[in-house]
Amino acid sequence: MIDNDILERVLAEGLRTGADFAEVFASDWRGTGVGLDDGKIEQLSTGRNRGAGIRVIAGETTGFAHTADLSEAGLMAAARVAAEAARQGGGGIKVVALTTQPSRIVSPIEIDPSTIGKAAKVDLLRRVDEAARSAGGAISQVSAGYSDGRTRIVIANSDGLVAHDERVRTLLRVSAVANGDAGMQTGFDSLGHTMGFELFDKVQVEDVARAAAGRALTKLKARPAPSGSLPVVIKAGSGGVLFHEACGHGLEADLVAKGASVYKGKVGELVASPLVTLVDDGTMTHEWGAIAIDDEGHPSQYNVLIENGILTDYMWDYLRARKEGRPQSGNGRRQSYKDLPMVRMTNTYVLNGEEDPADIIKDTPNGVYVAHLGGGSVNTATGDFVFGMTEAYLIENGEITEPLREGNLIGNGPQVLRDIDRLGNDFAMGNPGTCGKDGQGVPVGDGQPTLRVKAMTIGGTAS
């Protein structure tokens, strides 16, 4: 995308005002999106966004500028703006010599979606529509979206690093409405991987459609969710977002450094039930949060965050790691070339326990069984977090019984981690997610085996 000698000159320009670090992040994204709604392919859209963000760090100050102009002149202009923004007196000339990193592949792509005809993508959605509508006569509406994107990335910095990457992600989203005597209900499901079009050889889109429709249909018979504190069993592969919110964000070093995390100063301490080993793993092949290198050029890693309940480490980007004089962990990510990198999760999951999930349900006299979760959010400073249940059931006398209407669950991260008292052996990854932080969204994955939390507050209306 950009030659090394141009990158060297741009980085040198970034350092001219006396800064101690300069970085170029250039990306070229091309993507296709198809939307189906109300029984029709509404439109097919294709797009391209490319540009470069230039970051210059001088002491504690970061200057950042971006441009859609990838010519040398465009890059030099952005470098001057970034350098000016980070200016801290001084000045001088530094020479940057770049060494290209060997390229690394975490998620091999078999079929680049850009080589597949648009008609094949449209056809996937027609199949989705038909399958969802055939799932039950009460299905009154279906919308679905297909999207793929391929991003080529070049990252170079004044420490001499040049790294290249190519990322392909393919996503299908289905949402269905069912209409019954008590009004409408919705169901949602999605499928997304860092994979090419071969994804649809491995998974039948009809299954995704039926899962979404099934959720809407189930809830037609749902009763209001309970209000108050109850044991909660979370189905394998549906509750990773709990860990993402309950502690993942709180283990991001930028928040820890500012004292905005309840996990500050807790490394080496027991912060969760000894059943819990939590990992953030950017190397998990084909998962939605998988990356070969992070957006600062550092190879992705398998990072153990909590081991048998004990906090082992936080997640790190370049800036925080540099401040602490320690290695990065491959968690420096950004939404696009227009954004500064931050500490972000990749695929965050809890390792398997030993129990048969059926026993966990059987041993729960009364509670709630959560089979599918919506999004969540957390206040990292207090640890209070919520997540939405989009498919849930009552557990009565050790059996899953009636479906429940939607609602949020609320808990406090450190408390909920301690209250995990059962862990299954049926690990599964969940739906693809987009994690939002400081206005930037990045693709993330999560997963866990079936587990039980001794008590959580269910935000329903039934007493």
Binding site: S45, T46, A68, A85, N179, G183, S227, G259
Partner: protein, 452 residues
């Protein structure tokens, strides 16, 4: 010194694309360009300074009821030709829809807005940095228990143009600035968080003292908060929370949801859907609204639309598509999320017609209630199709007419339908907030609080 309005240049680019339409084609070009600055200060130093420039074009082509779109993040002429060719190719894969079509000028006069202030453009960078530093300092001075997470100044300059083969030709520009501060308040092992903000068309309009005070109050007043007992209760929503609630209600009053069978309120025009105390208006022509605008995303004049009058549903907001499909007049509510998105129906600037009393007077009349100051998880706990409403919250209990103990880690739940009918009072404390809805204190009866 002031720079000339260069949005006319964008209109020229858009018109050039439109002129390339082939017989039988409708073509729309949306062209935008923007420049923004963001300064973040931490502990008296600039943590980062971001200077961001962006531009792009989105093209829609409609032929025989089929729609294709394409976009690109540059205004490079060679790329634009490719975008048009792609949009044309893409329409071959859309299915014919008899109501598809671009907006047509409908004779509604544009209400001019002053969306541009030269003073902001002439503000030196050093002043922007000083403001963020000052806000941090004022906030820290407010209470010794308070730390500042970050103090931010940001501004944005944007210009955009839309041209279509159906006769739309509009261009304009706007700018504005924003200050925000995030706070942490500590008491022993406990930490609570807050935030404050100030908005303006230029930096002299920014009220730093108020932003600092609110950031301090929001964080400190929750110190010592406990988890309340579960029960049914009367809630008073703080103006900032009400604005978020109105945003959700606005999302249900949408013609596109109606025609696609996803609206709670389809077939309810003329019926009482809310307590008669509620009158809800979408009015982007009110210059006090943060999201005031003269033109919608499809190029029609923005206009005042009464959605709910004295509790009775009056109309839905419409895009050109949904208005045509419902057989009603356009409402000027085409929303566009930048050059990469297609327009869809949405509220532009929701306003609730305020009542008379201040929050303190309202609280004085409540024996057992809760003042909700923060909500968390509206995106995950509210379903605008089924109407189920459940959100995490924090606030202060109200006992015998006075505000008392702070509470947190609980949810409030009901359904949107019930909440509208159970509105018991609309406050007189109207606030113009940096979002697409205004706030007032809003009292709602019979909401379920779930805690311990």
């Amino acid at each position: 010194m002031s720079t000339p309005d260069r949005s006319a240049e964008l209109l020229v680019i858009a018109e050039r694309v439109v002129a390339m339409a082939k017989p039988g084609e409708q073509v729309e070009a949306y062209v935008s360009r923007g420049l923004s600055t963001e300064v973040r200060v931490y502990e008296g130093e600039v943590e980062h300074f971001v200077s961001a420039q962006s531009e792009g074009i989105g093209i829609r082509v409609i032929k025989d009821g089929r729609t294709g779109t394409s976009y690109c993040g540059t205004l490079d002429p060679s790329q634009i030709a490719e975008v048009l060719a792609e949009a044309r190719d893409n329409l071959g894969y859309g299915e014919p829809d008899e109501w598809s079509g671009l907006a047509e000028p409908d004779g509604v006069a544009v209400v001019p807005q002053s969306l541009w202030d030269d003073n902001l453009e002439n503000t030196p960078t050093t002043r922007k940095i000083e403001l963020a530093k000052l806000l941090e300092k004022l906030t820290l001075a407010g209470d010794s228990r308070v730390r500042v997470d970050d103090s931010n100044y940001s501004d944005a300059f944007g210009e955009a143009a839309v041209a279509t083969t159906t006769g739309i030709r509009v261009a304009g520009r706007e700018n504005g600035c924003y200050l925000s501060v995030g706070t942490l308040a500590d008491d022993g092992d406990e930490t609570q968080t807050g935030f404050g903000f100030a908005v303006g068309r230029n930096v002299d309009e920014l009220d730093l003292e108020r932003a600092a005070r609110e950031a301090v109050d929001r964080a400190t007043r929750l110190l010592g908060a406990t988890k309340p007992e579960s029960r049914r209760i009367t809630v008073v929503l703080d103006p900032f929370v009400t604005a978020q609630f109105l945003g959700i209600i606005g999302g249900t009053l949408n013609g596109e949801s109606v025609v696609k069978g996803r609206s709670l309120f389809a077939q309810r025009i003329g019926e009482a859907v809310a307590n008669p105390l509620l009158t809800l208006v979408d009015d982007p022509t009110n210059p006090l609204a943060y999201t005031a605008t003269d033109i919608d995303g499809e190029g029609l004049a923005a206009r005042r639309n009464v959605l709910i009058q004295d509790g009775v549903l009056q109309k839905f907001v419409q895009s050109t598509y949904s208005a045509r499909r419902m057989g009603v007049s356009p409402t000027g509510n085409g929303l566009r999320g930048g050059y990469g998105g297609s327009p869809s129906a949405g509220c532009l600037a929701l306003q609730i017609v305020p009542g008379l009393r201040a929050q303190a007077d309202i609280v004085a009349g409540i024996d057992d209630g809760i003042l909700i100051q923060q909500v968390q998880g509206l995106h995950s706990g509210v379903n605008a199709v089924s109407g189920d409403f459940s959100t995490g919250a924090a606030g202060l209990l109200i006992k015998n007419g006075t505000v008392g103990a702070p509470v947190r880690e609980f949810t409030i739940a009901s359904t949107l339908q019930k909440m509208l009918l159970n509105i018991a009072e609309v406050g007189g404390d109207l606030e113009w907030l940096p979002m697409s809805a205004t706030g007032v204190s809003l009292v709602i009866h019979d909401v379920t609080m779930s805690g311990a």
